[in-house]
Symmetry: C2
Subunit: 445 residues, 2 copies
């Protein structure tokens, strides 16, 4: 039989151990933060009725969706985001949920996008929302969680992160005052392109919609955020569009931000509008200051009718989504790939006279002390076992012995002796805490 | 616009917070054990070329696969297990992997199975394998990891778990001695039904294949395990089929099992054959002693040509797979659903005079001490906030105050006072460690 070429589909990827370890570590940090806020996880099927997922129909999305007829003749599709399944979920399980409902959902989604734009057709989203509360407290909790989670993920502190905040109401009032309120969806979509295409291009597109004078006023307004300071920008926006519920909400949020001492992470930016007409309140995007070019790594906003397609009950909410793949790529760029996680704290050498049973029993004593410990499976010269550990980025090789354990420090190329497991474990744990140099990648160069 | 009915496809499920929390906790325990052995994670695409996944073609599997033509006209399919993608993965990335390669993969797979048999069309597999080592040390490591992982998951200790072990070579030699070696695939498939259909039914099926006398001998042979004691069963098997590499391998493994003191978890059972012709060495299934009826929760074996479809290089290996959904259902049955995990350690009450900013800043002080802390978002009477905590299974409500914190113990219906966060955190952590009663489920009854 001829061999089949082992290959994946265009736009799809394998994750080798170094990448997958890093992803799992990122997800563990994200989940840890979400859980510390009392958010709870849910999951939904990858495959759903196409009608349920595409209810609204039309648009760019529909063309990208993986849609087909299953064995039972049903019209089905792979989910293309986590928002639509969540809307369906809340409508279906409404009677089982307490409001406000604080949930997160970390899962893969699929879109047959044009891969030439450097996009993947399978990617991971991390969504978190508070549904059933319209207050500033809920808005703030999402913003605060974004700030905490991204800070922990990037390990850089709040100065390296900027969350750009705006309110849809403010912008809508400006358009109304210009008599352009009926064109808001179209205008929002153009302004959302600002980061990608630049101001001149957006000006042209806006002029086509509103005429030259109004386009100028809109661009002047959304440029008011360039000044930086939140209070001053807010004053200017009030001067331009007048006061309203939206400016009062922004004022309140700014107070809460100051109460938590997180001012350095936030900016008021009237150019942030988000393309989707789904949002009705605050909207936001977040950027890594050292990598502005990669765009927003976490975005979201407030909406007033989550599940309108499936239920008459109006459910408001506020939420955000982290693009894990983009963030991982950004952190790789920021730190280089040398920081790959070590995949075990120690390896137990395989030596004559110590069979796999005895060796595993010894390894268990280390594992029970929180030290991950690979057992080498084949008898080789010590130097070969040290080389294997080095290639895999394992910092220690333990050579078993009766009455004494020899600990080879791979990086330092030195042997240490320990009278028992307790002492050996203390040595390994101590060095682990001191360890600042990056581990060698697990895969071959 | 008429509403769309919010529903999922037959055989697919939503996971509500209590179930999803439990699943995530199970996966964390499984991963923690795998990582402690130095196993590393990989991931592969959900969607692959149909030819890559279905290379061998034919059979029961092919009918169940979700297969379709994508937007680019490619013949694609959703993965139906993690073994085939792993085989493709090792062939594709062979030059990047060190052997022996110890990997795990926890991910969803899809099969359009008949749901009347209580099966799901979307389910999670946890596979772990050692590839590139043919020794007993590798066999034993997989067995030992199974024993550890299932013991930790079930929290029941090794006495409640039985791993039934056999060797394909032994059975093949018996068939050869009966002159039925050429019918082995067919015979194995029938014997694999033993647990489901019973001995009488299997006897009939075997008689159709081999005739009455041989069927009797085969059944006599596979019944030799009924005696229990590993050594005695092994002696009887040797008497019936003679000694060979297979009996020596089983002897060696039994020694390693004794070296680690895990004898109580293992049995030698010649009726375990596994249906797949893929296996060539040891094979095994594992059972919860208190729930024998649910069948094996973790099975696997040794194979000698993992990636033969994609590569000329013969890669041997040994591995196992945990069926997470079946195991979760089993644990629910064993423990009841009352043991649902608490979804936060404490809630901070929302009271007049303490805005969301100050409250979140206070909550952070608890979170930084390892206490997950939900912030309630709306001002309500204390009794209403206590009720909300009770419904969600949150054991403590913290009422902020200047100079003193009041801690409401929900279960005991008592207030405690603490002078500062330090003292309050100590109280909550202390009670958490004492906590043995199950939490109220998060969802409404």
């Amino acid at each position: 039989m001829p061999l089949i070429e082992p290959r994946v589909l265009k736009g799809f990827r394998d994750f080798l151990p170094p990448q997958e370890l890093e992803r799992r570590n990122m997800i563990a940090k994200i989940e840890g933060t979400f859980r510390s806020f009392g958010f709870v996880p849910i999951d939904t099927p990858a495959l759903e009725y196409a009608q349920v997922l595409l209810g609204k129909g039309g648009g760019e999305t529909e063309k990208q969706v993986y849609r087909f007829t299953d064995q039972g003749g049903r019209d089905v599709a792979l989910r293309f985001d986590l928002t639509v399944p969540f809307a369906r979920f809340t409508a279906e399980h409404r009677s089982e949920l307490f409001l406000p409902f604080k949930r997160y959902h970390i899962a893969k989604v699929w879109r047959g996008e044009n891969t030439q734009r450097g996009r993947y057709r399978e990617f991971t989203q991390c969504d978190f929302d508070i549904v059933g509360s319209d207050g500033a407290a809920a808005d703030f909790e999402i913003l605060f969680m974004m700030q905490k989670t991204l800070g922990i993920l990037c390990g850089t502190g709040e100065k390296d992160l900027t969350i750009r905040l705006n309110h849809r109401g403010l912008f809508n009032r400006l358009l109304d005052s210009l008599g352009a309120g009926n064109k808001s969806v179209e205008i929002l979509r153009q302004i959302d392109k600002l980061g990608k295409t630049g101001k001149d291009e957006v000006r042209k597109l806006l002029e086509d919609i509103t005429g030259r004078e109004q386009a100028g006023k809109i661009l002047d307004f959304i440029s008011l955020g360039d000044e930086g300071d939140f209070d001053r920008v807010l004053e200017k926006l009030k001067a331009a569009a007048g006061e309203g519920e939206d400016t009062r909400r922004l004022e309140t949020l700014w107070k809460y931000i100051k109460d938590t001492g997180t001012e350095e992470s936030f900016m008021l930016d009237p150019s942030i509008t988000r393309g989707l007409d789904y949002y009705t309140g605050i909207v936001y995007e977040s950027f890594l200051n050292k990598l502005p070019g990669i765009g927003s790594v976490c975005s979201g906003g407030r909406y007033d009718n989550l599940a309108g397609l499936y239920s008459k009950e109006k459910l408001c909410g506020v939420g955000a989504s982290i693009g894990l793949d983009r963030l991982q790529a950004a952190l790789d760029e920021l730190w280089g790939t040398g920081r790959r996680p070590t995949y075990a704290d120690a390896a137990l050498a395989c030596i004559e006279g110590w069979g796999p049973g005895k060796t595993q029993a010894l390894a268990e004593q280390f594992r029970n002390r929180g030290i991950s410990c690979e057992v080498f499976l084949e008898i080789r010269k010590p130097v070969q076992q040290f080389m294997a550990a080095e290639k895999k980025g394992i910092p220690w090789v333990i050579i078993p012995g009766d009455g004494v354990l020899t600990l080879r420090n791979i990086e330092g190329r030195k042997n240490n002796e320990a009278p028992d497991v307790e002492a050996a474990a203390a040595l390994i744990m101590g060095a682990k805490q001191d360890r600042t140099t990056p581990a060698t990648p697990y895969t071959k160069a």
